[in-house]
């Protein structure tokens, strides 16, 4: 276990280093963001002065040292493009993204897994074709397209659901009314995310259930006369869910990066949009810290998955031993 933890620590160190270099390897410079439009109105010397003020002309090792100092002192500074403290920007956006991605994750995991298992159990009777076709069709639609479609139909055409934002900006709702309002704004982005993500869980669960159904211990249980319902529930499904669990943990790692395209279409004020805008503005500090958080969450999720595997699948403990 200690060795494994050490591996993860090395991974974290690598991520910290890579996050510093990624923005600096992008073509272009943040000067346009720092001095606004019409950057050409400044002389070369004036532009150099601006870059100096942000230590962007310093040698890379020195810039890296500043980065490490700011990282560990939690003094993440101010965003080049948004002119607000980075911690404030990230914490505000991360909340909305986590709400959106967590609700989506729960829904598409449940729906995908249930449909996948149902499809596998019905396979012999040939009744799984509609499910396979339906989920494949839904999963093959690009997320932005389904998002636009939902926006056009349920937002513009029918007017049932709002077309932008995470809540009604111009209403002062409280309590349950506020919660319902947030849910109404969440409905279309979540629906778009679920429709386009369900296929992965469907196929994983379906394949896993099918292969478990053919396992020796399942056959043996049937031969021993264990009731079919019990075999399905405790012998097949329980073991078939291990690959699904792996996928869930992987997706937990991506919770913070959200879905940039869906957030953009629904003007959802999440971290995905913030990160995308930071990249196009060459906002080095915002890119660094938002990507770092996202990467750390991924590593943490993988670490947690490693720990939980032994509980989910005791056979792993035996193998390891």
């Amino acid at each position: 276990m200690k060795k494994r933890a050490l591996h993860y620590l090395i991974l974290v160190a690598l991520v910290v280093v890579v996050n510093f270099f990624i923005p600096r390897l992008l073509p272009g410079s943040p000067i346009g963001t720092l001095v606004g439009e019409n950057a050409q109105d400044m002389t070369a010397a004036e532009k150099m002065g601006v870059l100096d003020a942000y230590h962007l002309n310093d040698p890379l090792p020195l810039q890296f040292a500043y980065y490490l100092r700011d990282l560990f002192t939690l003094n993440w500074g101010v965003s080049f493009s948004r002119r607000l403290p980075i911690t404030q920007l990230i914490s505000s956006a991360a909340g909305w993204t986590l709400l959106f991605t967590c609700v989506s994750l729960v829904l598409y995991t449940l729906i995908g897994t249930l449909l996948g298992a149902l499809s596998a159990l019905r396979r012999r009777r040939g009744r799984d074709l509609p499910l396979v076709l339906g989920t494949t069709l839904a999963g093959s639609i690009p997320p932005f397209w389904i998002a636009l479609l939902l926006l056009a139909v349920f937002g513009a055409q029918l007017g049932w659901l709002p077309t932008y934002g995470a809540y009604s900006m111009w209403q002062d709702y409280h309590g349950l009314a506020r919660a319902l309002d947030v849910c109404r704004h969440l409905a279309l982005p979540v629906l778009a995310m679920v429709v386009t993500s369900v296929l992965r869980y469907f196929t994983t669960a379906r394949y896993s259930v099918l292969s478990t159904m053919c396992a020796d211990y399942v056959r043996m249980a049937r031969l021993r006369g264990v009731p079919q319902g019990r075999v399905t529930l405790f012998y097949v499904l329980r073991n078939a869910l291990i690959p699904v669990f792996t996928m869930v943990m992987m997706d937990v790692g991506y919770l913070l990066s959200g879905s940039v395209l869906i957030e953009a279409v629904f003007s959802y004020p999440g971290l995905g949009t913030l990160m995308a805008n930071a990249v196009s503005a060459r906002d080095y500090p915002l890119i660094q810290y938002s990507f770092l958080l996202s990467s750390l969450l991924t590593i943490a999720a993988l670490f947690l998955a490693d720990l939980l595997y032994r509980r989910v699948d005791p056979a792993m403990e035996v193998d390891h031993a």
């Binding site: 410079s29 606004g36 109105d41 004036e46 532009k47 077309t163 900006m169 503005a281 060459r282």
Partner: protein, 541 residues
């Protein structure tokens, strides 16, 4: 059973797609937007970018300038016909014969949104303060000033370091007036979080990444605005803006729409499309420093091989002004006549033959003297489908004269880094061709900035163009200009020069198309080369 389920699923998706394309019904415009006799209480207008606190030192794009003009006043402004008019100052302002000394008096009754009176001290401070700030546009304006004197009362006299005939338009229409009391103790303007201007609206609330809420200033010196509250959600995705306009959730947006969606808006009752002359040129940049584009005859061949008018009308229909060889919009008062492009692939072929590119390879691409095919790349912003289509059309047309042009779509800042590294033309450039555009071409300085070989004057010369004739006029006749008539003569000379020796292909100027809900509010005023979201749209009659 299973077939039925499959059919139902497919039919559902198809129905969803079809209903998205169907004409829109009458949507509820939203309860907060009830039209009144003198304008509604509230309007919801989308802003397409988060422009921070809207303060002059933190906005990030032209959208920010549009919105912050509602919050911050300028001494002069441009009216709906794009003429310069006094705004904060009285009509009897004076400009000396050399266009170097500007004298004007502030109109009475002006106040900042915190209630403090706006004085000549604040005006002088605004210019002095901006000279030390890192906002390029404002800094350049402020640095042109040699001295600011406050005469008796609220009268000011600005003396420029050099004569500048465009200072009213380029300087005084742009510089936002800020409060000395708020900024004087903060050397870095970006750190001031309050946004206190003296414009017709005050910033009541800003939620980063989400929205702005502007409230009308009841005792504004030019009269109380007709709409009391402007709710401005930040919606970046153009399709989302269009859907929100169609749903009635938005009354307008700061962004423009494409010609392909006009019919959808026209069929919707209460929606009006405002088309105004656009002054943002679209062009194909040519790297004039790279062979064989360094030869004037080669660039001339390109100008003949591209069907400028055909491309513009294919993409924009009648909603555009076709570019000319003079590189300025043909309806500007100083535009030289008779400089239209002529699509003549035959002449392009002849010119290329004359240059010695007579041999072709197996696929019909001309070969240079070393036997290599004349094969080039054109860089295009990946997020701009219209420019991508333009580049494809140009590529097809150049292929007809034996030139191979490959379209390379890249992220915006990456293209900028190749074409205009660090926004500093003296740093060179690394591209063959690029689809390009500028925010505006209306300033008389535009042509000089674009083509002057001396990069101090030619700060926008991203083509690396050099013409002795052009530079001689810039260094000679242009420096002697003292009035607009002289300026116009010189500008026509410059246009004749670039028409003979083209630095780029000036495709044209798409109209600015904006959609507004006129059922909710009828006061929208379209601005030539500007935005429907402007002070005149909300000024009392």
């Amino acid at each position: 059973m299973k077939q039925r389920l499959s059919c139902l699923l497919l039919a559902g998706l198809l129905g969803l797609s079809l209903s998205a394309c169907a004409p829109q019904g009458n949507a509820d415009p939203g309860q907060s937007q009830s039209a009144g006799a003198d304008g509604p209480e509230t309007l919801t207008i989308a802003v397409t970018k988060d422009e921070n606190t809207l303060a002059p030192f933190t906005y990030v794009s032209s959208t920010g300038l549009t919105v912050n003009r509602l919050v911050y006043d300028t001494l002069f402004t441009t009216d709906t016909d794009n003429n310069v008019i006094p705004w904060m100052v009285s009509d009897d302002y004076q400009v000396d014969a050399d266009s170097r000394v500007y004298t004007f008096s502030l109109l009475p009754g002006q106040k900042f949104h915190d209630g403090t009176p706006l004085t000549a001290e604040d005006v002088a401070f605004s210019f002095r303060y901006c000279a030390g700030q890192n906002v390029a546009q404002l800094r350049k304006i402020a640095n042109q000033i040699e001295d600011i004197e406050i005469l008796e009362g609220d009268t000011l006299r600005f003396t420029l370091k050099e004569s500048n005939i465009n200072f009213l338009r380029d300087g005084l229409c742009t510089m936002r007036i800020i409060s000395k009391a708020i900024y004087e103790n903060e050397p870095d303007g970006t750190l001031v979080t309050e946004s206190v201007g003296s414009g017709m609206y005050r910033l009541a609330e800003y939620k980063p990444g989400q929205y702005y809420r502007l409230e009308a200033v009841g005792d504004y010196f030019r009269g109380a605005p007709r709409v009391r509250v402007l709710q401005m959600p930040i919606i970046e995705d153009p399709s989302a803006v269009q859907q929100s306009l169609l749903s009635g959730e938005l009354a307008a947006a700061t962004s423009t729409v494409g010609t392909e969606v006009l019919d959808a808006f026209r069929s919707k009752p209460g929606m009006t499309v405002f088309a105004s002359a656009g002054y943002s040129p679209v062009m194909m940049n040519i790297n004039c420093g790279r062979a064989p584009m360094d030869q004037s005859a080669f660039r001339e061949a390109l100008a003949c091989a591209v069907d400028v008018s055909g491309i513009m009308h294919t993409l924009y229909g009648d909603y555009c002004s076709v570019g000319t060889r003079g590189l300025v919009r043909s309806d500007l008062p100083y535009a030289a006549e008779g400089l239209d492009y002529t699509y003549d692939p035959g002449r392009a072929d002849t010119l290329l033959d004359t240059l010695g590119y007579t041999e072709k390879n197996a696929v019909g691409v001309r070969l240079d003297e070393s036997g290599a095919p004349l094969s080039f790349e054109i860089l295009v912003y990946a997020n701009n489908p219209l420019r991508l289509r333009m580049a494809e059309l140009i590529s097809q047309q150049l292929r007809q004269v034996g030139l191979d042009l490959r379209v390379k779509a890249m992220e915006m800042d990456t293209v900028d880094a190749y074409v205009w590294p660090d926004f500093e033309v003296s740093k060179g450039r690394d591209y063959d061709f690029a689809m390009w555009g500028w925010g505006s071409s209306i300033s008389p300085d535009y042509l000089v900035n674009l083509c002057a070989g001396d990069y101090e004057s030619g700060g926008d010369n991203v083509c690396g163009y050099r013409s002795d004739a052009f530079d001689a006029v810039v260094d000679g006749a242009l420096r002697e200009v003292r009035n607009m008539d002289q300026m116009e003569d010189v500008l026509r000379q410059l246009q004749e020069i670039v028409a003979e020796d083209p630095p780029l292909i000036n495709l044209g100027y798409p109209d600015s198309l904006q959609v507004c809900n006129t059922a909710l509010y009828g006061g929208w005023k379209s601005m030539k080369g500007g935005n429907v979201v402007n002070v005149f749209s909300f000024l009392p009659e």
